[in-house]
């Protein structure tokens, strides 16, 4: 399935809590159902994005490691 990603956020090089904080700010500008792609290099973000999705209700649609040390998250705004 191909996901239609309309919004992207580059959080590479940022440490906790900035990837989550910037994602929260970015996803607030989306309408329900839209997708946000986030790139991060913080290894802790794999756990944090899952917890953040559970807390907020946004859906973590996809999680991958496109490059060594880069984490990619696709989130759907609730």
């Amino acid at each position: 399935m191909t996901l239609l990603i309309t919004h992207r956020l580059d959080a590479r090089g940022l440490a906790c809590p900035m990837p989550i904080v910037k994602s929260a700010q970015a996803i607030a500008g989306l309408v329900s159902g839209e997708l946000l792609e986030v790139l991060a290099t913080d290894p802790g973000s794999t756990k944090d994005f899952a917890a953040w999705a559970r807390a907020t209700g946004h859906e973590l649609v996809e999680q991958s490691t496109p490059d060594d040390g880069v984490y990619r998250f696709v989130l759907r705004r609730k």
Binding site: P17, I20, V21, A24, T46, E62, T65
Partner: protein, 185 residues
Amino acid sequence: MTVESAPAAIATPERETSPELREQRPNRTNELLIILESGDLERMWGTLILATSAAAAGMKVSVFLTFWGFYPLVRPGVRITGQNWMQRMLSFLNRPGIDHLRMSRLNFAGMGPWMAKRLARSQGVALPGELLEIAGSLGVRLIPCQMTMDLFGLRREDLVDGLEEPAGATTVLEMIANGATPLFI
């Protein structure tokens, strides 16, 4: 390169997602209250990281700043304050502002914080001053302790902008009684 779908990639125990158990969690108000008593750089840093993370996750967050945690709320330019020599000495010995915090260990007359901030910069860690600004934009409420303000001889106009009305212990206890998760730092 590995591509995984989210449910498989995250080892999440079933209980974390179970709505029944989520309902049973004691904190149903989704509210966090941090009581910051310390003026140490590392504790302020931790406070702001928790506060911004919680606000980003949709929690209502309040930080009550008391005693040594109070000076970061004083305008950086405000130096000798107070009505008597003890208050004046206190203000002289405690340089105010979020950018002038000392570390509880390895302070070395400011070398420690300087190095910690340089390291933070190189590691992509946001500095306390930046986090404080973000906290404000995320709606984190900063509540100054009225008693500390009086004790230190500070006035409302000595404090930075964007603060809530000063309050006391009863206000804080009421928030806890109403279900806010309290942290004392």
